[in-house]
Symmetry: C2
Subunit: 374 residues, 2 copies
């Protein structure tokens, strides 16, 4: 069955580290053909977790074997605890035991956790072996699989240790999203909305019209949303691979959002995209309070998030005793703080985000308190 | 005291990752002035080991404090065992506990082990913080501090896990070499000779004349030898940062040498440079056997190594029951093997090394056996 008609190709242009993202329906089964132009060696090591393996591993292995590849796999336990120092050590030793040389290719098949830890492993084994990302969650397809960030968590915080390492290819199979719970899809959708809000008002309008179809996994709608998000991120990463400047715009909603996730212990209580949805709401509210953004634009952003089913108010998250002082304390300890300054991504309206270095913490506190009482 | 007259500056040209190597006598005490042009933040974390700390830490701390910096230090146990996964984990957690942000600068003060593990840590904390290398061994000054390789050892082998990560500055204080045992100086000298033999016949001639002065730590001679070596390596790294091509020339003597080190368990029995000295001898002998190099050139190379006090024959290493088959087995498992091919660096004479992909293992075995019986 040829589904090439509905495929999207996004080029991530990073000089000799450039690569392509291929987005389409049921394309894991064609992995061999998609990988072939890279002319890699035969040895492929698939890193995945038990849940993803159940749904997709046989299909991927079959495709690779059909293409004359020689796949072996390392299957991790699902969940964030794999993304630790001991998880990395176990993964590295499993891979080294399988035998690697500089033409070995590691394939990360799974969500953000698998992408982050397998990417970290690929970047350090023999100081870097080939990496192919096959993200199977919406969040990974629109965010973590683009831009080359890898990481593990440490007792001191999330993602404090990692590398920048670009894959050779990203294969985003939109059919894999159909197996996801609705709440996880919505969490990924928050990052999609972010791309519209930070720099593409036209895309945000399209989402206002078609967001429901994206959440329903309509193949054309979801492929367009994923491709537009990836293209948007790729353009920003192209300008600033190592996060010295414009890449900071991708953190719209994230300074607030990370503080919320820290407070809830990065648990199921509040998924990443849910935190970002509330964080975006706060960033818009702060921009309005500081006289930077018309109130009507902020209301429009918030109402779309709410309508689609994402949280925008702290009190909708049950069982947490929020405190604006504690959230501000978390912000001050974020890894993006530089020489003691907290930079916020604020906005002049939909599609008009910018980095602001001059935010009074009294305003931040007021916005959090307002949200708490809303 | 102004010693600027005897300073050497080597530029490592790698685009936006370019940096300078400064070589001179007693320049650790001027670290603050040398670092100042980089305009880094105040926070400096010095990583060193107990032995090096005893000789140089007070001097470095004083220089940094004079310059208004705020140095803290992490002092590791000396020796290769720090360069392990658990050593890396401890180091990373010590650094994270000290508190870091993206303007924090890590200073690696020590020999190759400190440079490798502190470099690895710097490359992964917050996905990369500033790194300054202050190598205090001759081997580190002429080899490991140039080119950005970082690594740890794993149960599967040496340096199998690491990154490519360039420092912002290298400060090579030749006075620090005076505290080294003679055997360690000689080990570093083997790498210096390598640069002459692989591509600079003129430098090799200079070493034939002045090698003794280098080993005696004559300030002018050692600074010239270190600077010429760094310049030679920097030129090669500039052409091939990630070891895809010409950088392989730096492995003259290393395919043999690593096999010898593997056999002796990377122990005090055979230091790295001693293994390289025997390895260079074998590479020249193999080149002669294959009709690539005149015998007289090989004898000239070997006789300089021998005259300076380096081993060139396996039987001079006491207590080891060498076997050519076992050494060949080690070579086949080297991390530089690609798609099953062992590449050797051979030579057409002094200063004329090249990578040869077409070596018969029977010839390799014959050369090892010949050396064993020499």
């Amino acid at each position: 069955m040829n589904k090439a008609g509905s495929r999207h190709f996004v080029d991530v242009d990073l000089g000799d580290r450039s690569y392509q993202i291929i987005i389409g329906e049921e394309i894991i089964s064609e992995a061999d053909k998609l990988i072939a132009p890279l002319r890699l060696g035969k040895k492929k090591i698939i890193v995945t977790d038990q849940n993803v393996a159940r749904n997709h591993l046989i299909c991927l292995r079959k495709a690779l074997e059909n293409g004359g590849h020689d796949p072996v796999d390392v299957i991790l336990k699902p969940g964030e605890q794999s993304k630790s120092f001991s998880g990395l050590r176990e993964l590295l030793e499993s891979i080294l035991k399988l035998g690697v040389d500089r033409d070995t290719c590691l394939i990360a098949l799974g969500g953000g956790v698998i992408g982050d830890i397998a990417g970290f492993a690929a970047s350090t084994i023999l100081r870097g072996i080939h990496l192919i990302q096959i993200p199977t969650s919406l969040l990974a397809q629109v965010d973590s699989s683009v831009g080359g960030k890898t990481a593990i968590n440490t007792p001191q915080g999330k993602n404090l240790v990692g590398t920048f390492y670009q894959p050779r290819l990203v294969i985003s199979d939109t059919a894999s999203l159909k197996t996801l719970p609705n709440r996880e899809l919505l969490s990924g959708y928050a990052e999609i909305v972010k791309y519209g809000l930070l720099g593409d008002a036209h895309f945000f309008e399209w989402l206002e019209e078609n967001g429901d179809k994206v959440i329903d996994c309509n193949p054309a709608a979801i492929a367009h949303a994923v491709a537009t998000s990836c293209r948007s991120k790729a353009l920003i990463v192209n300008k600033d691979e190592r996060e010295g400047g414009v890449r900071a715009l991708l953190n719209l909603g994230h300074t607030f959002g990370h503080a919320l996730e820290t407070e809830t212990g990065f648990s199921e209580t509040l998924l990443h995209g849910e935190a970002i949805s509330i964080g975006i709401t706060m960033a818009f509210d702060l921009s309005v309070r500081m006289g930077l953004c018309p109130g009507i634009e902020a209301r429009r952003a918030t109402s779309h998030l709410k309508k689609i089913g994402l949280p925008v108010a702290l009190k909708s998250i049950e069982g947490i005793d929020w405190s604006s002082d504690r959230l501000i304390y978390h912000m001050a300890r974020d890894k993006k703080v530089r020489n003691g300054n907290i930079n916020f991504v604020l906005t002049k309206g939909i599609g008009k985000a910018f980095v602001c270095e001059d935010v009074h913490m009294a305003d931040v506190k007021a916005i959090i308190d307002k949200n708490l009482n809303s």
